[in-house]
């Protein structure tokens, strides 16, 4: 009885699934294609490698680069983007001294309360404070940016596929939509309908190719790096800020891989021992041609 019911139910679902398949196949045949080709699909580029020191299983932080990246964030990105999960005290990990951290924190105004009147006010930041948002709230952020709210950058490199390389590629990826081509195919010729709406900017590394953010790094030397640092080209600044945001997204990234190696080493050793122990235990009853030896 169960088998009879089972067969009927099984046939029902199979027929319905194949019916849906047939309908889908009909659509594909009448359309003559599996799915509609879109500019977003054909002209989207995968991120280019930012070649950061923290990449890979043996990665290390390049503290000088992180400090340069922080400088780019502070002088360029922080005008619009918050960094709300990072506290000033965290910056000590970039190699800043206690006094330097205090000075950096004091350079930011954070929300506070007037000790005399209890009214909301601002005060200079302390190392325990978190990076303040450039806007009082989301409505203000949208109003100031043509309704596109600048996302928080704390986790940006983890919140996008291949995030570190993505940030680097996006910042250096603005192109002229009229001349942009891949393998000699121009986006404007392949998709005449494709347009970059007002207040958006063509960038093939962005998911739908049109990003609301205007190119933030536009000229070499936009940020003045300290003596002895690489020349602040757009490419270098993009790389540096990508490195910095890799750190903000996962400050424990390098520690993680550094802990990982000894753990794997220990486990490998323990597993080999377990393998040998298992063989020793089982040797007594290993199948042999003749009678089994007593254990």
């Amino acid at each position: 009885m169960i088998r009879l019911f089972g067969i009927l139910i099984g046939l029902f679902f199979a027929v319905m699934a194949l019916w849906a398949f047939g309908t889908g196949l009909g659509t594909v045949i009448s359309d003559g294609q599996l799915k509609e080709a879109t500019a977003e699909h054909e002209f989207h580029l995968h991120p280019r490698d930012a070649e950061l020191a923290s990449d890979g299983a043996f990665g290390k932080w390049d503290l000088a680069q992180l400090q340069r990246g922080f400088q780019v964030y502070k002088e360029v990105c922080s005008a619009c983007h918050s960094l709300k999960f990072v506290a000033f005290r965290d910056l000590a990990a970039l190699g800043y001294s206690e006094a330097e951290v205090k000075a950096i924190a004091a350079g930011f105004q954070v929300p506070g309360v007037d000790p005399n009147t209890g009214e909301a006010t601002t005060r200079p930041g302390l190392p325990t404070d978190y990076f303040p948002s450039p806007y009082p709230n989301a409505v203000a952020a949208a109003a100031a940016n043509n309704n596109a709210i600048p996302p928080d950058l704390s986790l940006m490199t983890k919140a996008r596929h291949d995030g570190s390389n993505y940030v680097y590629s996006l910042l250096t990826g603005y192109r002229n939509v009229d001349t942009f081509s891949i393998d000699g195919k121009k986006v404007k010729e392949e998709f005449p309908e494709f347009a970059t709406p007002p207040n958006t900017h063509f960038n093939p590394y962005f998911a739908n190719l049109n990003i609301a953010m205007a190119p933030p790094l536009t000229a070499d030397g936009q940020v003045t790096y300290a003596e002895g640092q690489p020349a602040p080209t757009v490419d270098q600044m993009a790389r540096d800020v990508a490195a910095f945001l890799t750190w903000t997204a996962e400050p424990k990234k390098v520690k993680r891989t550094q802990v990982g190696w000894p753990v794997l080493g220990f486990l490998l050793f323990a597993t080999i021992l377990a393998w040998m122990a298992k063989n020793q235990v089982w040797a007594a009853i290993k199948p042999k041609k003749a009678k089994v030896v007593q254990g």
């Binding site: 319905m16 699934a17 802990v259 597993t271």
Partner: protein
């Protein structure tokens, strides 16, 4: 416990003798996973996954309890408290990665455990109850895993919760009230997050209880084995300890190597980048996908794109969405009926030539296709592929398996487990003169 020749627990130490009289807990352990549990001598490495699953459950409970000490289940701060764990809690990053990837490891191990059961027909009599409890554990795990993924309150958490609870909305008439009741509101919010956290903390202990029943039921019949031939005598078995504790110890080492490689070198490879964006009810992600371990069933859900209607009319009997929901739940619930769908007397796939072909060239490819399509966007060719695989999935369990078990002519079985291991004893008359193997 299960066989008369099982070794007896004989405490020597006076304290242990006293303990054995007052509360024979050591005896229980000895009989469950010690020398007192005789196990078939021919188990292969596919029999390691039960112990590994138990290890994963303990790992999840231990890491989860510590995470709960730092997590705040309030929609306004849940995401921030998760980041607090990642940044400020001592070794919090490791705990959270261990827990998130522990869920993946748990499901990976359980899927291998279940497919071991499919191939060797472990569900067949006399182990039906072991199987039923196992499927129950799997369902509890799915509920726990789903609710755990909601807790960080990222974009996938929120939209996953919305999609999954929305499934109940497909039920005619009462669907919408049920969905609102489940969520405690019209959309996932604080009420939903709080109850999910409460249940996410509760269910693992329910699982632990079900695991105890699962093992209890197993010990009444004893473990199955790759030949599917039941234990006939003492020479067929060896004590669980030291033989299988040693073998499981090695298996655990290999498991931990893979698990730690992911944990320390690619902890986000099974996650979705969107879940590092805080939940935003106003912004729908481009592709809402659940965690990888739900992909096969998610593919089945999405495979039903056509309403059941009377052809050439617009009279709808069952809407496509409801069909998908019914199919998805049926896809798992039908496992409960396997012991009665597959009535073939032979258990092991090694001796079932026809069953084996359908298993390797039907079920496994269909599952892999469903897995692949479930994680892909809902567009062609993935939808069409998942429709074919879905059709096969239901045909396999509900049509092919019952029919195969009726018409199949199994290959000759070895006389006993001992014979399968040591080869036929030509000098001996079958079944006689066979000396028990000393252990």
């Amino acid at each position: 416990m299960s066989f008369p020749w099982a070794q007896q627990y004989q405490p020597v130490n006076p304290f242990m003798r006293w303990m054995d009289e007052k509360l024979p807990l050591p005896r229980l352990v000895y009989n469950a996973i010690g020398g007192g549990y005789p196990v078939p001598r021919n188990l292969n490495y596919m029999w390691n996954f039960g112990v590994l699953a138990g290890f994963c459950l303990v790992l999840q409970i231990v890491t989860g309890i510590v995470l709960a000490m730092h997590y705040a289940s309030n929609a306004t701060v849940a995401f921030a408290s998760t980041e607090h764990i990642m940044r400020d809690v001592n070794w919090g990053w490791m705990l959270r990665y261990a827990h998130a990837n522990g869920a993946s490891a748990f499901f990976a191990v359980i899927y291998l455990h279940i497919f071991r059961g499919f191939f060797y027909s472990s569900y067949k009599a006399p182990r039906e109850m072991v199987w039923l409890l196992g499927v129950t554990i799997f369902l509890l795990m799915m509920a726990t895993g789903f609710m755990g993924y909601v807790l960080p309150w990222g974009q996938m958490s929120f939209w996953g919760a919305k999609v999954i609870t929305g499934l109940f909305g497909a039920i005619p008439v009462v669907g919408e009230p049920i969905q609102i009741w489940l969520l405690g509101g019209y959309a996932p919010d604080n009420a939903a997050l709080n109850r999910f956290f409460s249940l996410h903390y509760l269910l693992p202990f329910v699982i632990a209880g079900a695991v105890i029943l699962h093992i209890w039921a197993l010990h009444l019949t004893g473990s199955s084995n790759p030949t599917g031939v039941e234990v006939k005598g003492e020479s067929d078995t060896i004590p669980f300890h030291p033989y299988y504790t040693a073998k499981d110890g090695f298996g655990l080492g290999v498991f931990l190597l893979i698990y730690c490689a992911v944990l320390f070198f690619g902890p986000n490879m099974f996650g979705h980048p969107d879940n590092y964006i805080e939940a935003n009810p106003l912004s729908t992600p481009a592709h809402i996908v659940p965690e990888w371990y739900f992909w096969p069933f998610y593919a089945i859900l999405r495979a039903f794109t056509v309403d059941l209607h009377i052809p050439f009319t617009s009279i709808v009997i069952i809407e496509a969405k409801l069909l998908g929901v019914l199919a998805m739940f049926s896809a798992i619930l039908l496992w409960f009926f396997l012991p009665w769908l597959d009535k073939g007397p032979v258990r092991s796939g090694h001796y079932r030539p026809l069953f084996r072909k359908f298993f390797w060239f039907g079920l496994i490819p269909a599952m892999l296709v469903l897995f692949w399509c479930g994680g892909a966007p809902a567009e062609e060719p993935y939808v069409m592929l998942s429709q074919i695989a879905t059709a096969y999935y239901f045909l396999h369990f509900l049509v092919v398996l019952p029919i195969v078990s009726m018409i199949e002519r199994p290959e000759p079985l070895p006389y006993s487990i001992t014979e399968a291991v040591l080869g036929e004893d030509k000098d001996a008359v079958l079944g006689e003169n066979a000396e028990p193997v000393g252990v």
